[in-house]
Symmetry: C4
Subunit: 196 residues, 4 copies
Amino acid sequence: MGKNRLEAFSDGVLAIIITIMVLELKVPHGETLDVLLPLVPTFLSYVLSFVYLGIYWNNHHHMLHVATRVTGPMLWANLHLLFWLSLFPFATGWMGENHFAPMPSALYGLVLLMAAIAYWLLEQAIIASEGAASLLRRAVGRDWKGKLSPLLYGVAIVTTFLAPWIAQAIYVFVAILWLVPDPCIERALHRGEPWP
Amino acid sequence: MGKNRLEAFSDGVLAIIITIMVLELKVPHGETLDVLLPLVPTFLSYVLSFVYLGIYWNNHHHMLHVATRVTGPMLWANLHLLFWLSLFPFATGWMGENHFAPMPSALYGLVLLMAAIAYWLLEQAIIASEGAASLLRRAVGRDWKGKLSPLLYGVAIVTTFLAPWIAQAIYVFVAILWLVPDPCIERALHRGEPWP
Amino acid sequence: MGKNRLEAFSDGVLAIIITIMVLELKVPHGETLDVLLPLVPTFLSYVLSFVYLGIYWNNHHHMLHVATRVTGPMLWANLHLLFWLSLFPFATGWMGENHFAPMPSALYGLVLLMAAIAYWLLEQAIIASEGAASLLRRAVGRDWKGKLSPLLYGVAIVTTFLAPWIAQAIYVFVAILWLVPDPCIERALHRGEPWP
Amino acid sequence: MGKNRLEAFSDGVLAIIITIMVLELKVPHGETLDVLLPLVPTFLSYVLSFVYLGIYWNNHHHMLHVATRVTGPMLWANLHLLFWLSLFPFATGWMGENHFAPMPSALYGLVLLMAAIAYWLLEQAIIASEGAASLLRRAVGRDWKGKLSPLLYGVAIVTTFLAPWIAQAIYVFVAILWLVPDPCIERALHRGEPWP
């Protein structure tokens, strides 16, 4: 029951973040196609962030599905994750408006990195609550994606000052990596069973 | 249980999109009736989009009611649908502010078209998960509305450059077409039974 | 089950409307107390609308509690009600920014009137679905508030052009009238029982 | 069941308030790091308010967990609390944009104070409904945090005109005080049991 309210609140915040982001796509003045052109980078960064938030919602769902109870640390680790995710609209808007310039792209990478760390902390809080023998712990043991992503974000933050488009390529690559639902957790948990 | 969270998240996003749209109706300066006049097209486009999002919410509810489980593809097809619906406030605002000019009307039609395709993809994902003998598949087989709508959106996108008001008439016509709850699904499923 | 999703969606939309309204209270430039003064009318109109939306949420909850099933007409009557409620932020902002001038006050009254009519239509849709012997019908039969309110809104719309403050007094009076939970429905339904 | 909808509505409003606050962090023009510098105070005030709203959400959850039924006064006490919380984005934005100047800091303290009083009123409404022997009453009897906080907010409001940073230190101190989950309620209720 406590878990339900935690999920509902997280879903609410995620749903609002994902939708508020589109407000950065400001309605332009003028009725011709060329007034839309300056919005293309903002639109592309919106697509990227939409996919990332979709991934977080999906993974968050999988992870909480495994949790059998909610503890104080889990609650605050979850709010901490939501905090970094709430900065997506700002980072997305700044990167889009400046056409993927180095500094905004680095900040975007930083928000991605902090969200990944926050996600990892939430994972640890759940494992601490569930015990060392928990399903999540065994599933996460081989979680190479969760280990590779922060590393790649770090690389992207550095390389954006050399060549901004490498950073973008990395962000897209990591998103694609995650788009495939995590077979580790799924296999360990739901053999033959559909999505949680 | 997984279905509940999918529905709750979709409801949240739809509720926010529908409400955020009204923010395009910016409070005018001045206290006389004539400052409201330039807002009339924005208001009318808001009404149209409100009805469309209501239809999507209603149909989404009917369709998910039939699903007995949630799979990965369904999840992403659902997010894909929400993505196109999230562009409604932008497309609505641009069309309203430019008094139904050709290009904004065409973009509005494009967003309607993409949402219709995304809805169809979600339908296919559910049918793939439920199997060929599923109730949904049988109901959808005669789903002439789902086939006619994208066609009409396509016609509207083209004709808006010849006569913008034809496109608007088509958008209104398709909305009216859908306002009547789909008797196909309803008849096949809930003979005599009230709304799911 | 269908009722749950209808309630959840309505709650979502109401929660967003109530919160989005506060965005009309724009953060002023300057750090002294006097920059807040021009915001006082906007703040007061926000308080009034917050109370009205709270009343609608409360009554909506009571009314749907009585419904045993959800029909197509109920669904659309509900969306119709949400449509008029979604115009609260606009009407509130325009009235507040213009310091309760006649025309914005009249529009505010019109939105209140349309919402009251939409609420009545939803009530009729539920009664039609539940049958003539339903609890709601008996409770509503003596619903003098529901009949008096639209009348008073109409009076307010007309008198605002003579003396704007009479309209405001009427809006406040009707809100106070409703703040007391409806004893008709409550008495008929939950004798001795707490809030649904 | 009535409690569920009250929780869901409160969660919705809190989720939106927490997310709308980030809109005060406006995307700056320019792509260099120095355009972010003027946003640092706004960001810090956002962090503070995010933590406060997280605390309210957490405590609200604990408190409602104890309630066995929902009464009319509880409902309105809850809406009253949500009203003051809905002013967080405004107070946070004004304080952040003016770099913690005395008057905006005092208003922020006033909103914190009113929210604390509203929370206390909701607590009293629940105790009145649950009876003198209720678990909540016993737990709250030793609730020194709930008594100390309004006092400290009052001190902060006064001292901000002497030295604004003292007020900020008090706001941060009270937040830290609350970050530790309330052991009073928890101990009285869930001996050995995890978070509600």
